[in-house]
């Protein structure tokens, strides 16, 4: 491949993180092959070597030509290209079984891509040693539909737990916990146990826990799935505020109302492929 062609390939909207719209144009085999060639010779990824090459390592999240095939033969993700620049807010939508969960598992390195490259917070996850995985996860805050709080611990203890089990010095724990409890607005409920809290408060506790490591990315997997519409809005507002404070947010959701109302970047998955990547609503608008 000649150099001009390559550069043309690199101007792809999906790789150029600043222009995430009109992604569907890029679903041909040629451009992807070009990216694969580039990644084959990894020297192209070096910072500043080519002004036209977006520095993928600077992005909060990047999946390039990623395919995930499970041992049972199921192709959960096929040729997925997705770059989320730092500070971005993106929705991940799609029907159940479209591959949203697999994508999230790849990002937190719960699973490893069958092919392609996954970058999170500047790290190539395929090259990440097993013992370095915990350090990666401290840079990712993850929030689930079912909150995953410990029922025997208070709000404060649940949040502090994340610091405690990562060996944070004791004197640093209390102030960090106070700070995130203030961000999510749970200072008053700090001594309550999850069972006495509303669903929204429980999810805010989970978000506080995700925030306490001061992560570069928050990944929320259906965070409003168990909540009524009003409370859902509260949670979304909270995630938007966290995003405004500089944290990248990737939120997988079925909540069409929220997605459509916010006019943020929407990445739609269907049968393991990205079928849409643009600013817009939950449903295709054209």
């Amino acid at each position: 491949m000649t150099q001009p062609n390559l550069r043309a390939a690199l101007r792809l909207p999906k790789v150029q993180a600043a222009a995430p719209t009109a992604g569907t144009e890029a679903r041909g085999a040629g451009p992807r092959a070009a990216i694969r060639d580039v990644l084959g010779g990894r020297s192209w990824l070096r910072r500043g070597q080519d002004p036209l090459m977006p520095d993928i390592r600077a992005a909060a999240l990047a999946l390039i030509d990623v395919t995930k095939v499970y041992p049972n033969g199921k192709r959960a993700l096929v040729d997925v290209d997705l770059v989320v620049p730092e500070g971005d807010f993106a929705f991940l939508v799609g029907p159940s079984g479209a591959g949203k969960s697999t994508l999230i598992k790849l990002l937190i390195r719960d699973e490893i891509a069958s092919s392609g490259v996954v970058y999170v917070a500047g790290q190539d996850l395929a090259r990440l040693r097993r013992r370095d995985v915990p350090r990666l996860r401290r840079r990712i805050g993850i929030v689930f539909q079912d909150f995953k709080l410990l029922p025997s611990k208070t709000v404060r203890e649940n949040v502090a737990f994340a610091l405690e089990v990562t060996g944070t010095p004791r004197r640093l724990i209390a102030p960090a916990v106070e700070r995130v409890l203030a961000i999510v607005g749970l200072t008053a409920q700090a001594e309550q146990r999850p069972s006495t809290l509303s669903g929204g408060e429980q999810q805010r506790t989970a978000i506080a826990r995700a925030l306490v490591h001061d992560p570069t990315v928050i990944i929320a997997d259906e965070p409003t799935g168990n909540l009524d519409p009003l409370i859902s809005w509260e949670i979304i507002q909270l995630l938007l505020r966290i995003n405004q404070l500089g944290t990248t947010v990737l939120m997988a959701t079925h909540n069409a109302e929220v997605v459509t109302a916010l006019r943020k970047r929407v990445v739609a998955l269907e049968e393991g492929r990205i079928v849409r990547d643009e600013i817009g609503g939950y449903h295709r608008e054209y």
Partner: protein
Amino acid sequence: MIGFLAFSVRRAFQGLLRNAVMSLAATITMVLMLLLLAGLVIILSGLQAGLAFVEQKVEVQAFLNDGVSRERVDALIADVESLPEVADVTYTSKEQALAEWREQLKAQGKQDLTAVTGTNPIPAKLNVKLKDPQVHGQVAEKLKAPPGVVQEVVETRKVADAIITITDVLRTVGLAIMAMVGLTVLFIVVNTIRMAVMARADEIEIMRLVGASDAFIRWPFIFEGLLVGLLGAGVTLGVLALGAQPISQLTNVLVSQVPIGFDDRLGTQLLLLVLAAGTALGGFGAWISVRTYLIK
């Protein structure tokens, strides 16, 4: 580091208490095994001491009949001394033998019943020292040759052989039983820790997600296993301490002839052995469990 240790130990205690029944079962089997181990060591070292005692004694003893004339005895001594394998023969008269016997009783703190009988029941004897303890040659035959002089010949080698045989059998059987009980203990510890892991499945999942290192996930359980081992060792040592007095009396009665000296070192060795065996088994069991059920 201190935070890590405090965290691990605290969680180990929590785990132990949370699953009290299983922990108790593990501890009790652990105690059983350690008691068996200690008992085996005590008996074997007792036999070892007995063996040493027998071996350091004269190799061949001949007990003489009462009322044999001194001339015949001297002739026998001369006969035996002429054998090439014999180093030395010493004669102990009835009176000397009685005095030795009384001394021995006194040393063991037992009552001297011979003072009551009025007669001397202890026979005179010949102690034959061999040049090589293993080569007995014709000594026994020679001693028995003149009719009516020697009542009984005791060859240390035979006694020693008997003790060695007993020791070997006991060691083999004991170790086999130990191995089986040890394996059982291992399984129970593995199962206990497995249940502790399952009880904490939610916590472990969260720990993984928030980026806890493997050490933080793994060590609390290994500490829990170590704790079971330590607890078992502690109870075992308590039982041994309580039982030490009656046991040593019992052994004195059983083997009154052989003053088995359980020296002070045996106590220390037992202490260390029980502690080491308990913690090793507990820790190893937990390690296996954690490896099997935690690592992914």
